[in-house]
Structures are given as structure tokens and as C-alpha cells.
């Protein structure tokens, strides 16, 4: 009986601990990183990278910037941003910049995407 009560109390207090850490103590949460940016902000980040790439043509620097969004596949970050820009109706000049960057990234670090947008 004691063991059962011990387990029940332990589970309740464990749940309370998780709730405190995730909900009641938001100040203790880690600050978000660039990888946590919302999709539209991610697209803007990639667009800035594309604007810089269009001016300097430095694909390695562009790759390093995109790794901040997706450490495993910066190319995927570029492709997804290009797709988002098309869906969201970005100006054609911006879409072209993103497509140029995505193409350059695909040539530099090719990836295969299932259901590529």
C-alpha cells in the first residue's frame, strides 16, 4: 500500500514539476534561436541571405548563414523559403532572388526532397 502511494505521489509531483518548468516558469525557458523562427520570418532571413548572395556571389558565406536556420541542410532552408515566397505572393524580384539562391545551393550542396514544394 505504501509503495502504491509512493508511486502515485511521485507521478503527481513529477507532473507538477514538468508543469512548473514548461508553463509556470517561462522566464527559465531558453531564449529561442534563429532555427526557431516562424516560417515567414525564416523566409525573410533567407531573402536577406539571397540579397547578399546576389551582390557578392559568396556561396560559402550564404551557406554559413543558412546553417543558422537548418544546421543539417541549408539547401532545404533555401528551397522551403523559395516555396513560401511563391505561396505568400512575394514580389517577383524577391522570388527571383530566392530562386537564384536555391539553385546555387542545390548545385553547391544538393539535397533530395520528398514532395519538393
Amino acid at each position: 500500500m505504501r509503495r502504491l502511494i509512493f508511486v502515485i505521489v511521485l507521478l503527481f509531483s513529477l507532473s507538477a514539476g514538468f508543469a512548473s518548468g514548461w508553463v509556470a516558469l517561462p522566464a527559465l525557458r531558453s531564449a529561442s534561436s534563429l532555427a526557431d523562427l516562424r516560417e515567414d520570418y525564416r523566409a525573410d532571413y533567407v531573402l536577406m541571405t539571397a540579397e547578399i548572395f546576389a551582390a557578392d556571389g559568396d556561396i560559402q558565406a550564404g551557406t554559413d548563414r543558412l546553417r543558422e536556420l537548418d544546421a543539417d541542410s541549408p539547401t532545404t532552408a533555401a528551397l522551403l523559403a523559395a516555396a513560401y515566397a511563391r505561396q505568400a505572393g512575394y514580389p517577383e524580384t524577391d522570388q527571383a532572388l530566392l530562386m537564384d539562391l536555391a539553385r546555387a545551393m542545390q548545385a553547391y550542396l544538393p539535397v533530395e526532397l520528398d514532395g519538393t514544394p
Binding site: G21, S30, D36, D40
Partner: protein, 299 residues
């Protein structure tokens, strides 16, 4: 007593569970917001975002878009925050072009915020190998914009976003090895600017001030240009555009009493040698050191 001892296992379970749950939720599996805005980024993330905005501005020349992007950050897009970050980047030994990009954007925004409240920014830049008690002085009055509310629609989503390409001028890349203190700066890789004027002025308010103005080919003010100055304190760098009220192509440096300096532009110019404040006589017969004015123009 025995009842308390008998219930101790409940307290133990509660403390164990709470501690384990709290630690796991904070340290091991912290909650990350599924989708953040730039304002929710860490300080490091916001600084990286700000640098990217500045570099994108340098690439596209679209200050309106850069300004909109900056409003997404904590500082709300103030020129002072950009200048402060430029200063920190230089002090931390980050690439010179990073500081230049930030300074140029700060200058562009400072010039476009005429109705804003001026904020004082002291810029002190000293290269690592230079041992000095004096630093370039650029007490800039940078206007800061009123903090705009965050918009939840990112900048590029707006189909009306403007794009006004402008010429981006090449700038010198910093050398990996900084020279030791010397009166003679190392030779520039090329000469992009020509000396237009070198003069002295006797004015109390400009005492010992070395003033530099840089113009582009059209004679317009040229912000974000690095100016290397060497003297007994070593080699130091300061930038145009950090005093928007004096002009975006203007920078100044407070000389030491009796100091002698050589000056040239980081982007390439002839070296202006043996600069020293002139000895002036006031109306009451006392003497003071006046100012020096040097003007460069892009070739």
C-alpha cells in the same frame, strides 16, 4: 512522531518528483516556442539578425526595407543600437566589414530620422596591438526613432516593399596582422581617394579636434568609411557617419596635446603625414590648440 515518520515517504516522493520534473523540463527538455519572432531571439540571435539586416542593406541599398526589418527587433530599429553593435564588433575583433555594414546602416537611418530624439553615443575603437590611453572620439548624436510596435507580418510579405538599388562602394578588408604602434601606417593596397583639402582652424570649441570629411565622386557625403590614424598611441580606426548631425561623411578624433599623427583612409588613399593641432592665441592672450580639417574625395 511515529506518524510523521510513517508519512515521510510521501514527502520524499513529492520532493523527488517535483525536483526531477522541474530539472527535466528546464534543463533537459526545455520548451522552445514552435514559432518565434525575431524579438524573441536571444541577444546573440538578435545581433546576428541585425548584422544580416545591415549586410542586406549594403547589398540592396533599400533603407526602407532595412528599417522595417529592424522594427522586428527589441531596439525597434534605432540607429544607436546599430552604432553600438558596430562599436562592440570592432572591440571584439570581428571582421571590419561587419562593423562597416552596421555603421553604414546606422548612418542611413540616422539621416532619415530627423524628428527623432538625439542620443549620445561614444565610439572608442582601438586595435588590439595598440597600447594607448587615448581613443578616437566620436561622440555622436545619433537620432533614435520612436519604438514602433511589432508587426506580425514580415517585411517581404508586403507586395509594396520598395527596392531602390544604389551603388555599394567597395571597402578595404582588414589585415589579419595589426601593425605595432608606429608613426607610419602600412602602405594602402590602392588609392581610391584623393586629398582635397588640409587646413587648420582656430576655434575654441574645436580644440585639438582632427576633423575628417569624405566625399564620393559626386561630392556627396560618404558614410561608413574607415579612417586609420597612427600616432604615439598606435594605430586606431574611426568611421564616418557616426555623427549624423555633422554630416554622414564626417568623423572626428580628439588629438593628444602636442600629438603628431599620420592619417589615411582604409579604402585606400595617400597618407596625410605630420598632422598636429595649430597653436592659437585667444583674445585674452592665452594660447590653445586649434583644429585640423582634412577632406578626401573619391577618385
Amino acid at each position: 512522531m511515529s506518524a510523521r515518520g510513517g508519512n515521510l515517504y510521501i514527502l520524499t516522493a513529492a520532493i523527488l518528483g517535483l525536483t526531477a520534473g522541474l530539472l527535466a523540463s528546464v534543463a533537459i527538455w526545455p520548451v522552445r516556442p514552435a514559432a518565434s519572432s525575431p524579438r524573441e531571439l536571444s541577444t546573440v540571435g538578435q545581433n546576428a539578425y541585425r548584422i544580416l539586416i545591415a549586410r542586406a542593406y549594403n547589398a540592396s541599398g533599400d533603407s526602407g526595407r532595412a528599417s522595417s526589418r529592424l522594427t522586428l527587433l527589441d531596439d525597434g530599429g534605432s540607429a544607436a543600437a546599430l552604432s553600438a553593435q558596430a562599436q562592440q564588433a570592432l572591440a571584439a575583433g570581428h571582421p571590419l566589414d561587419e562593423a562597416e555594414a552596421l555603421a553604414r546602416l546606422a548612418s542611413a537611418l540616422g539621416a532619415s530620422q530627423p524628428g527623432s530624439t538625439p542620443a549620445t553615443l561614444a565610439v572608442s575603437v582601438e586595435l588590439p596591438t595598440a597600447s594607448s590611453t587615448q581613443a578616437p572620439e566620436a561622440a555622436a548624436s545619433i537620432p533614435t526613432a520612436a519604438q514602433p510596435a511589432e508587426t506580425h507580418t514580415p517585411v517581404p510579405a508586403s507586395p509594396t516593399a520598395s527596392r531602390t538599388p544604389t551603388t555599394v562602394h567597395a571597402s578595404a578588408t582588414p589585415t589579419a596582422d595589426q601593425p605595432t604602434p608606429s608613426l607610419t601606417p602600412p602602405p594602402a593596397s590602392g588609392s581610391s581617394f584623393t586629398l582635397l583639402e588640409r587646413s587648420t582652424e582656430c576655434e575654441r570649441t574645436l580644440e585639438r579636434l582632427l576633423r575628417v570629411e569624405i566625399q564620393d565622386r559626386q561630392g556627396n557625403a560618404f558614410p561608413g568609411q574607415g579612417i586609420e590614424i597612427s600616432g604615439s598611441e598606435g594605430l586606431q580606426v574611426f568611421y564616418t557617419g557616426l555623427k549624423p548631425r555633422a554630416g554622414s561623411g564626417y568623423a572626428d578624433f580628439r588629438m593628444q596635446p602636442g600629438g603628431v599623427y599620420n592619417l589615411r583612409l582604409a579604402a585606400g588613399s595617400e597618407t596625410v603625414a605630420s598632422l598636429t593641432a595649430p597653436v592659437c592665441r585667444a583674445a585674452d592672450g592665452s594660447t590653445y590648440e586649434g583644429s585640423v580639417l582634412v577632406i578626401f574625395k573619391e577618385k
